[in-house]
Symmetry: C2
Subunit: 663 residues, 2 copies
C-alpha cells in the first residue's frame, strides 16, 4: 500500500527518529528537485495541491501559504505568523497531482516554504547537507501516514487515568492549595483525575526536590491524593540549579554530565532557579543518570511527569547578559536615535533562547564533541527518553504518564506532548483542533492544548466553548499562567454547565481511550481531517474546522465569541447528538450537506457517521470509578460490534440498534 | 425618534466631543446604576443582550465578553485580548431588554467591562468622577446612532480622490522610489490615486522639512506626480526634534508652545528623531502655530496628510531611560533570579508609552496647567484639529485629505482615521470588517485598515483576499512596515488579478463616495451590522462577518487561508454578483437562508438586496478620469432612481431594470 525511499545527503547525525531499517536509494523520485549541494529541495505544487503535516505548528490543517521552521522554540505568542513552536516535526504530506510524504530527518532547523515566497512552489531547506530524506509514496493519504508511522515506530501508550480531566496552574503553591482544587471539583460533583504541580512545588526550583515548607510530608500527601483518586503530576525542568549543596548539581558536575562551553567548562545559563547547568542528554551515561533521578519522586508515589523548558529554554547566559548590560550601560547619558533605541530593546529581548548561546553549548556524544547547534531539536527528545528509559527500571509495574514540551519525531515512542504555552484566545481553540491531526501524523497521539489557554485571561464563555472541544483532547488539561484570572471550572458562575460537560468527557473515556489505542496499534490517526476520509469531496478537503475522531464520530466545535452556533458541513448523512450531560442527549438525523447548527454553550455537539455507533458509559467522579458495565451505544446503524481496547485487554462488545449491549 | 439625557459628574474637562448643547438632567434612567462617587456605572445585561460601539477596538461587532479601555495606545500587536488601540471612543449601544446608547465623555481612561468579570454585568469605570454621561434612548438601533451622531456633529468630508487606491510603505526613500511605485501601477494598467511618504521623506525626521538629497526639488516632484494624477501624502509626527538649528523647534521653544514637565521646563522625550518636544495642542495659540506649519507643504502642492505618533507615542524620556539604564547597570555581575530577569525585561519594555511619562507632562489650557494624564485622549484629536483649522486659512479652495492615528470622539468632525499599525494576519482582515460599523457609530466614516497588513509579511493569497474587502474601505490604503516583504500589488505573480480587483474598486467609487456622503448627511452608518437592518432575525443579529454597505449591498469577504469560499447568511432574497473586473461580472438570484458560496481569489463577491440596485461605472486609471457618463446599474429591482452625491453636487439618476440609465 506504500513504499518508502531513503536518500542520504552528506553525513547525517543519528537522530533515532526512525525505528525501522530501510535500504538506501541513490535517486529521489523525479518530481523532487534537489540542488545547492543537497541543501534545497523544491517541488512545483499544482494550484489545488494541499500540504499536511508539520505536527506542532501554527495555522491550518492545510499548511500551504506560509513558511515554517522546525526548531524547538520557547515562544508563547502563537500568532499566525510564527514559524516555530516548541516541537520540531519535519514531516509533510503533499496531496495533489502527486501524493507523497517527505520526512527530513535532520536535528537542526529545516525550513518549509510552502507557497510563501512563491505561491506555487514548495521549498525545503536544511542548514547543512547532512540529513536523511524519506519519501513515502502510496495510494491514499492514510497509506502515507501508516508508512511513515511504521517507519518511526509505535507511539507511546499513556495510562488510562491520563484520559481523565486534569487541572493545572502555575502554581498551586502549597499542598493546601492543591487540596482545595481537588475539593472544588469533588464537592461540586465535577469529575477529575489529576492535579499538576508547576515549578513552585520544588525547593527553589531544584529538580527532584519538594519544598518541605509548602508540601510537608509529600509522600503522605501523594498517597492521600491517590486515595481521593487524584494523581499529582509534578513538572521537571531541563536546567539543574548550580548549587554546591544540591546533590543533583554536584553529581552532574563531578561526573561531567553537563553540557560544556567551547573550553570544556560547564555551560552555564539562567532559567527559573537562576544559574543552571544543562544535563547532556545526548550523552548516554548522563541521560541514564538524570533518568534515574525521577526515582526520588516515583518512590513517593508519583506516577506522572511533565518535562518542561527542554528546548532548552534559556533566559540568558552569563556571557550574553554581561555583554548586554555592558552595551546598555554605555548608552547612559546619550541622545539615543531610533536605531539605538531599537538596538537596546533588541539587546534585552535577544537575551533569551539566543542562537549565540545555542552555538556555545556542546554535547559529548559517545566521545565526540558536538555543538548544540547541530542537534538542537534532539535535546527535549533525549531528556524525555532518559525518563522513559529509567521508568522501565524504577517503576516496572507501573505505566507512568509522561509528556514533554520540546519534541522531535521519535520522541513519540516514549511520551506524549502538550502544545506548550498557548493563550486564552478564541483563535487558539481552533488551533487546538487543527494541530490534533497534524500531531497524529507525526506520531504524537497523547496530546492536547492547555484548555482555556495558558497566557492571558479566560472568560467564562471561552472556557465553556474550549471545554466542548477539550472533551476530545486525549491530554485534557486546564492550565493557566501566573498572574492570570483563576480558571478552574468550579469557580465559574455556571459551574453546573462545566460539570455537565466534564461528565460528557467521562462518558466518552472508554471510547476515546480505545480509539487512541487502536490508532497506536494500526499506526493510524486518531483525529482525521475530513480530507483523509472523504477524498474527492472538495468541500470536505477544504474543511479546516471539523475532524473525524476514530472512525465513527465527527466533531465541529464553536470557536467564536457570542456565537449562536456554527456552520457544519456533513460529507454524508449523519446523526447529530447534542450532549447536555453524560446521559442527557438528543439525537437528530441530518442530511449530507451544509447546515447551520445552533449550539448553546451548555452543549457538546457531535455527529455520528452513517452505519456507525458511539459507545458511552455513565460518567464517574474519576477514571477508577468508570464502570464499563454501564456501556451502551448511540447508534446510527442497525446494531453491530465494537472492539473496545482498555488498558488491560481488548473485548468485542455487541450492541443492538437500540444501543443496548448483549452477549 | 430618540432622546438624549446628559448627566454631569464632578467637574468634567471640556473635551469638545459634543457639538450640541443639551440640558442637564439630574437623574439617570433607573436601569443604570451609578456608585462609588459616580465612578462606577453598572447595568445588568440580559442573557441575549448585545453591546455595540467602542469604535477602534479588537474583537467582534458585538463587544460582549471582554474588557476594553478607551486610552490612545501605541501598540501594534492587535491580538484579541488587547484592551486599547490607538483611538479612544467611549460610546456603546446596549441592545436587549433595554435599548440605549451610553457616551462617557471623559478624556482619561474609561474601562468597559462587558461581561468579562461577570458574564451578565456591564461595568463602566472612570478614573475620577469628572465626566459627562450621555444616555441616548430610541426605538431602533439606528435611532440611537443618529441621536449620538447628531450630538457629536457632522463627520469630516474627505475629497473624492481619497476614495482612490493609495499605496504606502515605510518607506519610499527617494523620489525615484516613489516614481517607480507609480510606474509599477501605471505600466501594469492598475489604477491608483496616491502614494505615501512615511517618515524618511523628511530631513532627519523633522516635521515640515523634506530631505533635499532624497527628494530634490520637491515642489516640482509634487507637481509632476499630480500631472500623473497621483497625490503625495506625507506623514506628520507629533514630536518636534530638539535641534537649535531647526526653526520649528526654536519657535516652539521660544514661545513656550511645548508641553512642560512639572518644573515648567520643556518636557523632553524621544521618538523617531531622538529627543523631541511635544507641541501643546491643548493650548490654542500653540495649536494654531503648529497648524500653520502645514503651509510649508501645502504651498508645495501637497493636499493630503496623515498625522502619526500622536497618542503621543513615546519611545522613552530621558529621565526614565536614565533610571532604566542605571537599574540595568546595577545588575552587572549578579546571579539574576527569575524575577530580576523579568524586572530587567520589563524595565526596558516599560520605557515606551509609560504612565510615568504621561503623568510628568503638562498642558497649558487657557492659562490653567493641566497634567497630561487627565486629558490623554485629546492629544491626537487636537493635533489633528489644529491642522484642519489651519487648512481653512491656508488652503481655502482645496479639500485637504487628513487622517490621524490617535483619536477621540469629536475629532471625526475634522478628519478620518486609519486603524493604525495592524499585522499581515488573516484575523486582521476580519477585524478590518468588524471595526468599520463600530467606527461609523462613533462618527468616523473616512477610515480603513492598512490592506495586506502593516507588520509582518503578507502572502499573495492574503493580499488578494484582503483586497476583496479593501475595495470597500473608504480609506483604501496598502501599507507595510520596514523590513517586511514588499507588498505593492504589481509585484505579485498574479498581478492581473490584483489589477482586476482594483478596477472593481474604481467601478464602485461613485457609489461608495455617494453612500459615504449620505451617511454624513443623515448622521447614519455607511457600514451596518446585519443586526441593524434585520432586527428580530437572530441569525442576522449574531452575524459577525457580513456587513450592509449603504442601503443596497451586502458584503461577505473570505478571511481564511486556503478557503474554497465561505458560508454566507442571506436574511432576505438577494442577488449575488461575482465581480471579476469592473465590467466583467455574473449575477445569480439566491434565496433567503444559508449558503456556502465558492469564491475564488480572483473574485469580489457582493450581494444586492431585494428591490435595490448598485450603480457602477467603467473603471479608470485614477479618480480624475472616472467618467460618470459610463454609469449603469446592476439591478435587483424593476428600475428606479438613485441619488448620486458627488464632491460637487447631488443628482438623481433614473435607471431601468436592465441597468440602463435614462433621463
Amino acid at each position: 500500500m506504500y513504499n518508502i525511499k531513503k536518500y542520504i545527503c552528506g553525513s547525517p547525525f543519528e537522530t533515532n527518529a526512525v525505528a525501522e531499517n530501510i535500504a538506501v536509494s541513490d535517486k529521489l523520485p523525479c518530481y523532487i528537485n534537489i540542488s545547492e549541494n543537497d541543501r534545497v529541495i523544491t517541488y512545483a505544487m499544482g494550484k489545488e495541491d494541499k500540504v499536511y503535516g508539520l505536527g506542532e505548528a501554527v495555522r491550518g490543517i492545510n499548511k500551504r501559504g506560509w513558511i515554517y521552521e522546525t526548531y524547538c522554540s520557547d515562544d508563547p505568542m502563537h500568532t499566525e505568523t510564527k514559524r516555530s513552536l516548541y516541537g520540531a516535526h519535519p514531516f509533510i504530506i503533499v496531496d495533489g497531482e502527486k501524493l507523497f510524504g517527505l520526512f527530513v530527518d535532520y536535528p537542526d532547523k529545516v525550513t518549509f516554504d510552502i507557497g510563501y515566497s512563491d505561491i506555487d512552489t514548495l521549498t525545503v531547506t536544511v542548514k547543512s547537507a547532512d540529513c536523511c530524506l524519506y519519501i513515502i509514496e502510496g495510494e491514499a493519504l492514510t497509506d502515507i501516514v501508516k508508512g511513515f508511522r511504521r517507519l518511526i515506530g509505535k507511539s507511546y501508550v499513556a495510562p488510562y487515568w491520563a484520559f481523565g480531566f486534569q487541572q493545572s496552574r502555575w502554581s498551586y503553591y502549597t499542598s493546601k492549595d492543591v487540596q482545595s482544587v481537588i475539593d472544588g471539583y469533588r464537592t461540586n460533583g465535577m469529575p477529575i483525575d489529576a492535579v499538576y504541580l508547576d515549578i513552585d512545588y520544588m525547593d527553589g526550583f531544584r529538580d527532584f526536590t519538594v519544598s518541605d515548607e509548602r508540601f510537608p510530608n509529600f509522600k503522605e500527601f501523594v498517597r492521600s491524593a491517590k486515595s481521593q483518586h487524584i494523581h499529582l503530576v509534578p513538572i521537571i525542568d531541563a536546567g539543574v540549579k548550580c548549587d554546591d549543596s544540591y546533590s543533583v548539581y554536584t553529581e552532574g558536575r563531578d561526573n561531567g554530565y553537563f553540557c560544556k562551553d567551547k573550553d570544556g567548562n560547564d555551560f552555564i545559563a539562567a532559567v527559573w532557579p537562576g544559574k543552571v547547568c544543562f544535563p547532556d542528554f545526548l550523552n548516554a551515561e548522563a541521560a541514564r543518570w538524570f533518568g534515574m533521578k525521577y526515582k526520588t519522586l516515583t518512590d513517593m508515589g508519583i506516577d506522572g511527569f511533565w518535562n518542561d523548558m527542554n528546548e532548552p529554554a534559556i533566559f540568558y547566559s552569563e556571557r550574553q547578559l554581561d555583554k548586554a548590560i555592558g552595551k546598555i550601560a554605555a548608552y547612559r547619558g546619550k541622545n539615543l536615535g531610533v536605531y539605538d533605541y531599537f538596538g537596546l530593546k533588541d539587546t534585552v529581548l535577544g537575551l533569551s533562547n539566543s542562537a549565540g548561546d545555542y552555538s556555545s553549548m556542546y554535547h559529548n556524544v559517545n566521545g565526540e564533541i558536538v555543538c548544540h547547534d547541530r542537534v538542537h531539536n534532539l535535546y527535549g527528545f533525549n531528556m524525555t527518553k532518559a525518563a522513559a528509559d529509567a521508568f522501565v527500571e524504577i517503576a516496572p509495574d507501573r505505566n507512568i504518564l509522561l509528556f514533554s514540551r520540546a519534541s522531535y519525531i521519535g520522541m513519540h515512542r516514549y511520551s506524549g506532548i502538550w502544545t506548550g504555552d498557548n493563550q486564552s484566545w478564541w483563535s487558539h481553540i481552533k488551533l487546538n483542533l487543527q494541530m490534533l491531526p497534524s500531531l497524529n501524523m507525526c506520531g504524537f497521539l497523547y496530546t492536547g492544548a492547555d484548555l482555556s489557554g495558558f497566557g492571558d485571561n479566560a472568560t467564562e464563555e471561552l472556557a465553556l466553548r474550549w471545554l466542548a472541544l477539550g472533551i476530545f483532547n486525549p491530554l485534557m488539561r486546564n492550565h493557566s499562567a501566573l498572574g492570570t484570572k483563576d480558571q478552574e471550572y468550579f469557580r465559574y458562575k455556571n459551574k453546573d454547565i462545566f460539570g455537565n460537560l466534564l461528565k460528557v468527557r467521562y462518558a466518552l473515556i472508554p471510547f476515546l481511550y480505545s480509539e487512541y489505542r487502536r490508532a497506536i496499534e494500526d499506526d493510524d490517526l486518531m483525529f482525521r481531517p475530513l480530507a483523509f476520509v472523504y477524498r474527492g469531496d472538495k468541500l470536505a478537503e477544504a474543511c479546516e474546522d471539523q475532524l473525524i475522531v476514530g472512525d465513527s464520530v465527527m466533531i465541529a466545535p464553536v470557536y467564536e465569541p457570542n456565537a449562536l452556533g456554527r456552520y457544519v458541513y456533513l460529507p454524508e448523512n449523519m446523526m447529530m447528538v447534542r450532549f447536555k450531560s453524560d446521559r442527557e442527549y438528543e439525537c437528530e438525523s441530518m442530511a449530507k450537506g451544509h447546515h447551520f447548527v445552533e449550539i448553546p454553550t451548555c452543549e457538546a455537539v457531535i455527529f455520528i457517521r452513517e452505519g456507525k455507533a458511539l459507545p458511552i458509559v455513565k460518567a464517574a467522579a474519576n477514571t477508577d470509578e468508570i464502570d464499563l458495565n454501564t456501556i451502551s451505544f448511540i447508534t446510527n446503524n442497525d446494531g453491530g460490534e465494537y472492539v473496545l481496547i482498555t488498558e488491560a485487554d481488548k473485548r468485542t462488545i455487541k450492541y443492538r440498534s437500540t444501543g443496548e449491549v448483549y452477549v
